[in-house]
């Protein structure tokens, strides 16, 4: 580690994403040869007790309870934002003004207006910035992108994606509070659209280019839930489910769906791309497999291949174990940090940047508008 330059991390938030990011910082140098080493300088959270406990477990050197104080610290190089969506913009804009690098959880913002302000801030400040759309860095997903970019699928006709969960079916589940802010529109901005479809859209834009127009529908199956902050039964304002049709810039048709009411699916993010020459599909429940069909194969032995993406010539995999042995969900964050640190060395931006994430926000906004208006909406170009 002696030859690596330190990069001091200040993280805001110590929930689920706080854990995955912290883990990524701690593991990256064990597996990747990058010119920087992350130093866990400070964790910031409203509860000092919880922040201390988190710091103790993960090895953060210090604790803050006000993110403004964290942003003001001279010894912090990078601000990592892991807080609920409604706080991203304020923190990011302040961090940019303070000249910090920023790694922000997805979705970028509550809406395009906020998102545009964030993009303006980081671009004006000229600071490295990236958004944690981690599924891009599942090796099988990266491989999918590489195959498409190399032209293996030819002209694309169809793109379809879904993100299915079932954890909010029970009407007993409250909204708001730790772990449940995703059901509270005030904190989350939207329901499955920003939480889950945003992932699907980010991948789609990366694999298949811009989306021009959308027609969407949303539904809230459980109309009222107890709010943990107020203690009262209050209307649920998020979308429990959302589906949309779309047309891509390249002429292909898209179909997207997400719900938290698909009994039997825990986190079934899937996508499939059909091209003139080949097709591919992937799902998060078996994230190390890519399904691939190549029409050019000899017709007697033509079929869908199940590619077990664990070999050393697959994206990111030479840094891990041996063929046949797979890695886990959290390794996607390790890959993201590895790319971020490598790019720091070369001055390249780390995709998706705030600007790239704004394009996803534009689609999300158009989707929610379309569902409200019950008509096709044009996506604002970014």
């Amino acid at each position: 580690m002696s030859g690596k330059k330190p990069i001091n991390i200040g993280i805001v938030g110590y929930g689920f994403m706080g854990r995955t990011h912290s883990n990524a910082y701690k593991r990256v140098c064990d597996f990747f040869d990058v010119p920087y080493r992350p130093v866990l300088k400070a964790v910031c959270g409203r509860s000092e007790a919880q922040a201390k406990e988190f710091a103790e477990r993960w090895g953060y050197e210090s604790v803050e309870t006000d993110w403004r104080a964290l942003v003001a610290r001279k010894d912090i190089d990078a601000i990592d934002i892991c807080t609920p969506n409604n706080t991203h913009a304020e923190i990011a804009i302040a961090a940019a003004a303070a000249g910090k690098m920023i790694l922000c959880e997805k979705p970028l913002a509550m809406n395009m207006v906020e998102g545009q302000a964030m993009v303006d801030a980081v671009e004006k400040a000229g600071v490295p910035n990236t958004v944690w759309y981690n599924y891009r860095r599942v090796p099988a997903v990266t491989l999918a992108q590489n195959l498409i970019a190399a032209g293996r699928l030819g002209k694309i006709y169809h793109y379809r994606a879904q993100f299915l969960q079932d954890w909010t079916i029970s009407t007993d589940l409250p909204q708001g509070g730790t772990g449940l802010w995703r059901l509270d529109a005030a904190a989350a901005g939207s329901g499955v659209t920003g939480d889950l479809l945003a992932h699907c859209i980010d991948t789609a834009l990366w694999l298949n280019g811009a989306i021009n127009s959308v027609s969407a529908m949303t539904e809230t199956f459980v109309k009222e839930r107890k709010h943990t902050l107020t203690g009262k039964v209050e209307p649920v304002k998020i979308d429990d489910a959302c589906a949309f049709l779309c047309r891509f810039e390249n002429g292909s048709l898209g179909l997207f769906e997400s719900t938290r009411y698909a009994r039997g699916h825990k986190a079934l993010y899937t996508f499939e791309v059909n091209g003139e020459k080949a097709s591919l599909r992937w799902d998060l429940h078996d994230l190390h497999r890519l399904q691939y069909f190549d029409h050019a194969d000899d017709s007697l032995v033509r079929g869908w291949k199940s590619i077990h993406v664990t070999d050393g010539d697959m994206p990111y995999m030479k840094s891990w174990w041996v063929p046949g042995l797979q890695i886990g969900y959290e390794h996607t964050f390790v890959h993201h940090v590895a790319d971020f640190l490598a790019n720091l060395g070369t001055g390249a931006q780390t995709s998706p940047t705030f600007r790239e994430a704004l394009a996803t926000q534009a689609v999300c906004d158009a989707v929610l508008d379309s569902a409200d208006a019950r008509k096709w909406e044009t996506v604002v170009p970014v």
Copy 2:
């Protein structure tokens, strides 16, 4: 066979469906105890030579080249319509007027106007009538319907279906003529909507009830193809692909898609239904398997079950072989005939009747209208 009453079949058309129906008539009494036995009385087609060859192979007693002559024959009890879609209405209405039972290939008609006239004709004539939506009688699909009807899924939240093919990707493929009339709007009425989505919609209505409204998009990827009848390159007027969102009467959300440009899929009809208590899914490429998830299962061993629908207590299966040994695609037509003949004995109608198939037509019409108008359309109630 001595105790079985003969029912004399006159079939119009000797293409793909002519074969599946003929096979069904010939096999049904080997496996099912029904009170009637089909007699292959006559096959009718415009080419006398081809009709004779078909009659020779399948054992039809006689040949006709004019369907009007067939309909006029006193020795024919039932007319089976296996011709392109643009001829269904005229033949069916004449057959009804002649007091014949009618078994009509799907889709019922070119559009609702035609379809309504057909329904009026058979209901006025009081003749047994049914439409060959054969996938209802895949044992796994029948089982799915039975499970839903028994309330095992509870309240339904989501229904999704797709029918994916890839056989028209080549631009060299002509439109029109034998086997290719499905690409000719004049003969087929529509493309994948009437050909493939009609199957998906029929199953959906049977499993999940009425569809109220739809938002659709269609695309024709290959804009011109040589027409085999005219010899000229002509615009392609069918939909190569169609996808739609919908809302069901029961409050659930629907998502449907069909295309002939999904490289790698031959005839991948799939559906999935998510209910409060359980979910199920099925696909035609492995048509004897039903996937089922029951939330009530002990959580330590809870997961999606792959039910191999071959046991004797499964729908239709006690008539076939032994557990583990599956049947084929064409057996669905045998089941349809078996049900039709059994119902003749009791006077019951055989589902789907013309009226039930008209409801599918209503959805198809709304889908095509919605795609044209780029807006949500209400489905006309049947």
Copy 3:
């Protein structure tokens, strides 16, 4: 049918196999262009009532209750033997002496001594003869054989097969009698070895050549069962389970297992072959799929392919439907009859002949001997 020569069938036995064979005779000319057409001349069984019922259902012209009378009839061209194993030899030898063609259910005989006498009889008589090892004619299995024969796998290292069932786990199940003679050593000769492993061995010899030596173990889990013929609880003398190691002539290693105590498996016949260049595997529960791995594929997209064996260029499939639509278990018998009738036209023998089936018997005998003696046994060459 006018141009086809009739071939008069006399079938002995009207159980499960009587049905599959009768169905094959009735379907073959609807789908295959063969120079002969089977005529269902007579069915023979000990129970006249059951034989009449069977004749009525399937369309046999006459009934016999003594197989000797059937064999003596001048109007019978071919004898089809569907009776329990302990009767095959006597009937076949008499039929050969009477100059009849013979289609015999598998396994060929109770043991090699009987089998050798049967081979001698048909070869001396010069009559067409074949044994119904039907799984050779599953299109995916035929394709597997074709791929291996074409050298696509290169040198073979490993062959493994299993046939797993679970239908005899209950101790309440009796032995002997209709459908249960398979549990009675006097009628069946052995248990899973002759019933199920014989299938695995026949396929293996066809795909991978001769087996030289074996080391086996057998077990009878339920030691006593009520005998339906005697009404008494009697020792069970068949093998409930059998597994063996073997060495093939070509240097590859083999591993075979069969049982009727594998809870959850109905008729799971699987095989896998590993070669230097490629591997393949298949299973009966999804019998239309062949799994194939080709090491020569581009390493970035290398994986196991699931080949859906339904296209027109696949073995036997051009006679059936369209790509994506699969056929059933019983079509393997149709294919067998189609090949038999085509071969009658050319004078070729239809594989597997009695002699080829004797080689399977030789392996079965060695397996049972090895299990008894608890040592490696050499297989008697045929």
Copy 4:
């Protein structure tokens, strides 16, 4: 970490297993609440340069080049043995004599004689000892063991396992040297038997109890390979493939196979257990899934369940992420360390101990003896 007692680790070997163990020590306290925290005190290897590089990357405080010096150090609490098999015994016996805890890579030893001496040494010294049979701690495998131990399968009839690889098919691959000592009998003792079957046997003994007798065959397909240490082409003395039949103490039958010549399989460790009431199976390529069939399920919806072992009530999983998100191969080692450290707190031994691993060694020895002698061998009881 302040409240956790340090435990100073001295690791011998810096190869593949050196990485997995080091990773486990570094991760365990981030995820598991254990009373001890591992301190990476020293890494020992013959190459000082490589040992230093390893220490630098993983954070070991010091480097040794002679394991005797490491064992002699007062500041080392536990010796972790990651060296080739032929060195395990000497190091372990010395470490035991020095009163160190020992974590030894599998297989325990070159043979039972060595293994017995190791067991004697650790038991005499009374030091905590464990062998890294890591697959026991795949959550799905632990769940399988729990289900069997709870009696859910009832009486066991069959156990089968295989471990298939294809990495040594090329004749260009040399034997001996870094990463290739597994092909050198002098270093490895045996080929697939000790390397791969040992894993299968360890799991089998844990899930299904003792093995009494075996009948095995082995093969060396490539007879000569260049030796990297001598530079000469030398005979290959390891087993490239090994298969064996066995009988368990509980009356069930076993079938095991391993090879490095199964084209298309990277590390396909699979096992299946068939019981009277239920069956289960698992494979390493999709290691987070357990397949389970329960005969008690309602027959209409009975089938094999695919259990995605990621929920919080599954073994080890509450320490990781959320349902649907899987973990990687290396987490099995984290679980092993977590259990080891938890047991240190209570004084319990951590399974498998040296004595338990000796039972696996006994089966391996019997297997190799049986293959040599071509006869059934009795397994020496441990």
